[in-house]
C-alpha cells in the first residue's frame, strides 16, 4: 500500500508530519483517534476557509466543526485518488456557501479579530501594523460583498492557490464558469476599491476645505 507522507509546512506554514493515508484508512475503520489526527492536521486550512467565507470566528468554528463531521460521516465515499485537502476544503466550501445563502448578508466583526489580526504590542511601528490591519479588514469587507460562490472562488484561488480545475472540482462548477466568475469577481472587487478610494478622497477634500474656511 502506498503511504503518502503529509508535509503541510510549505502550504500552511505549519509542519505536520505523519502518514495521511494510514490515518484515513484507520479512521474509515472507525478509529476516532486517527480522525482526530486528521482534524489536528487540517484545522488551520479548514478554519481559515470558513473564516474567510463567513467573516467571523464564532461561525467559522461552528462551520469548521460541522465540515469535519461531514467528512467523518462520508469518509467511506472518499476517493484516495483525489487530494484529501481538496476533498475536505470542498466539503467546507459547500457547507459555508449554504450557510451564507441562509444568512444572506455576512459582516466581519472588527471587535473580534482572530489571532493573526490581533495587535502585537512588541511591534516596532504600531501605525504600520494598524494600517496593515485596516487594509486587511478593508479587503476582507470587500470580499464579503461578493456572492457566496464568487467569494469561495476568490478564497480558494488566492488563499489556497487552487488551479481553475481544482476550484471547478471543489465547487462542482465547470472550468469556464469558474473562469468567468473569477473575472467578474476581480472586476467587482477592483471597482469597489476604486469607489471606496474616490469616496475617501472626496471626504478628505471636503474636510480640508472646511479646515481652511
Amino acid at each position: 500500500m502506498k503511504i503518502k507522507r503529509i508535509d503541510c509546512r510549505d502550504r500552511y506554514g505549519e509542519f505536520v508530519n505523519g502518514t495521511e493515508s494510514e490515518w484515513i484508512r484507520q479512521a474509515t475503520n472507525g478509529n476516532d483517534t486517527a480522525f482526530c489526527y486528521l482534524v489536528e492536521a487540517y484545522q488551520k486550512p479548514v478554519f481559515n476557509l470558513c473564516y474567510r467565507l463567513l467573516g467571523n470566528t464564532h461561525d467559522a468554528e461552528d462551520a469548521a466543526q460541522e465540515s469535519f463531521f461531514r467528512a467523518y460521516r462520508n469518509l467511506k465515499k472518499y476517493d484516495p485518488q483525489r487530494s484529501f485537502t481538496n476533498w475536505l476544503l470542498s466539503i467546507a466550501s459547500h457547507y459555508c456557501i449554504d450557510c451564507m445563502r441562509k444568512k444572506h448578508a455576512v459582516t466581519i466583526s472588527t471587535e473580534e479579530l482572530p489571532e493573526t489580526f490581533q495587535h502585537d504590542s512588541n511591534a516596532p511601528e504600531p501605525e504600520k501594523v494598524m494600517s496593515k490591519q485596516e487594509n486587511e479588514l478593508r479587503i476582507q469587507s470587500l470580499v464579503n460583498k461578493l456572492s457566496p460562490k464568487d467569494k469561495a472562488i476568490i478564497v480558494l484561488k488566492y488563499w489556497y492557490e487552487f488551479s481553475t480545475s481544482d476550484i471547478s472540482d471543489a465547487l462542482s462548477l465547470t472550468e469556464s464558469s469558474v473562469k468567468s466568475r473569477l473575472f467578474r469577481a476581480r472586476k467587482e472587487l477592483a471597482g469597489k476599491l476604486i469607489d471606496q478610494s474616490k469616496k475617501a478622497s472626496r471626504i478628505k477634500r471636503q474636510f480640508n476645505e472646511t479646515q481652511t474656511i
Binding site: 488551520k44 482572530p114 489580526f117 472587487l189
Partner: protein, 180 residues
Amino acid sequence: MKHKQFEKLLLNFEPLDQTEDDLLKTHLSSCQRCNDLRNAWNSIEQNIKSDPMVNAPPEFISNWEIYLVLAKEKRAKRTSIALAGSLLVVSSTGSLIFYLTSLSNFSISEILSLIFTRLGYFIAQLLHAIRGFSSLSKAFPIFLPISTGIGLSIFFMTIMLLGFWVVSMFRIILPKQGVV
C-alpha cells in the same frame, strides 16, 4: 473606447500574444479608467497574498471531541426515532389487518385479494381515462398541450407548497445550528 475588451485582457490572466500585449500597452498609456482598474486589482491581489492564514482557536481539538460525541448521540437519537416510527407504522398496519380480519370474519388472504382487486379496478379506470384522454386529444389537437400544461402546473404547485410546508416544519422543529 472599448474598455470591456481591455478589462478582459487585464483581469483574465490568460497569456497574451504580441498583438494583444501591444494593444493593451497602447490603451493603458491613454486610458485612466483601465489604469485605475489595473492598479486597484494589483493592490487587492497584493493584500490578499500577504494576508496570512488565520489560526483555529486553541481549544478547537477539544471542542471537536465534544462535537463528535454530541453529533453521534444526536444521530443515534434520530436513527432510533426513525426506527421507532417505522415499527409503529408496521405494527399499526398489522393491527389494522388483524382488527379487520377479526371483526369481519375475513381471512388475511381475502383482505389481500380485496386490496388487489381494488388496485386492479383503479388501474383499469386509469387506463380507461388515458384512452379517453388520447381520443379527445385526437379530436382537439390543442387540448393536449393546454391540459398537460395546466395539469403539470397544478402538480408542481402542489409539490412546491408541500415542500414549503415540510421545510417550514423542519425549521420549526430542528434547532438552527443542528447537526445534519
